[in-house]
Symmetry: C2
Subunit: 129 residues, 2 copies
DNA sequence: CGGATTTTGACAACCATTTTCATTTTGCCT
DNA sequence: AGGCAAAATGAAAATGGTTGTCAAAATCCG
């Protein structure tokens, strides 16, 4: 039984950037979907656990999700204005993290890397904030 | 009036890794300090805003703070077992972030980079979790 | 079809953080 | 000093995202 989960996944695919669970829920309801908030949370967690979507925390502690194109390891370049997100690879960063870790005797290195900025269409026309 | 704030800062300095606001509060009370939770939160925010301490979010959405040795830009290598933290610089990463950002037409680039691992003393003696 | 199992979702519970607001402390001016 | 206005403090209540509970509904399977 994966209908609901797929529905959530689809909704996420239609979005350009990261969306919160509440966002997804609201959007699905708008489109007439019959689904509960609880289920959205569970679906999102399941998708995240299965590596189907990426998760990150906003500055105010909200979890936001995104269905990414590639399932290989990558990072994000997020526009802090409109939320548009680009997936970027950074082999150099991966190596740097590994190196820094082992230099200090750490093992099982993992890392989180997110880059924020203002995208072209947001920085031009619109004024700062 | 900065007595309270300094007290909070001092408490943070005595810690090896990142501590949550509630942690700091509990610790201060243990040592007999007369301070309220609210004030701890406010002090922590003020310190963070002033760049006196670094902040990051744990996986479960809690904000954790740390008084860092240098006030120049740096990142952290955190032991996921004991919380011990090392401050690391990564000029290469800074440049990479800038480059990636401008390649996509983004401006005002910022980034978050945290490296996690298991430190030497934790990986040896103790078993995995 | 019938019972066992899983999924769902409304609602309550959680819990870190924030807000409110009355009280206390501090700063400053005379 | 005295006194008042502004800032700081903290107890308690409010907030809000997320998780837990549990009964009803859907799905499986023999």
């Amino acid at each position: 039984m994966t209908t609901r989960r797929d529905a959530v996944h689809d909704t996420l695919r239609k979005s350009e950037g990261f969306r919160s669970a509440q966002d997804v829920y609201a959007e699905m309801r708008l489109h007439g979907a019959k689904i509960g908030l609880t289920t959205v949370y569970r679906a999102l967690q399941a998708l995240a656990d299965g590596g189907k979507v990426d998760v990150l925390r906003t500055d105010d502690g909200e979890s936001v999700y995104r269905a990414c194109a590639t399932d290989t390891h990558h990072h994000h370049l997020v526009c802090r204005r409109c939320g548009r997100t680009a997936e970027v690879a950074g082999p150099a960063v991966e190596r740097w993290a590994e190196m820094v870790g082992s230099e200090h005797g750490f093992t099982e290195i993992t890392h989180t890397v997110e880059v924020f900025g203002t995208c072209a269409s947001c920085s031009g026309p619109a004024k700062t904030r």
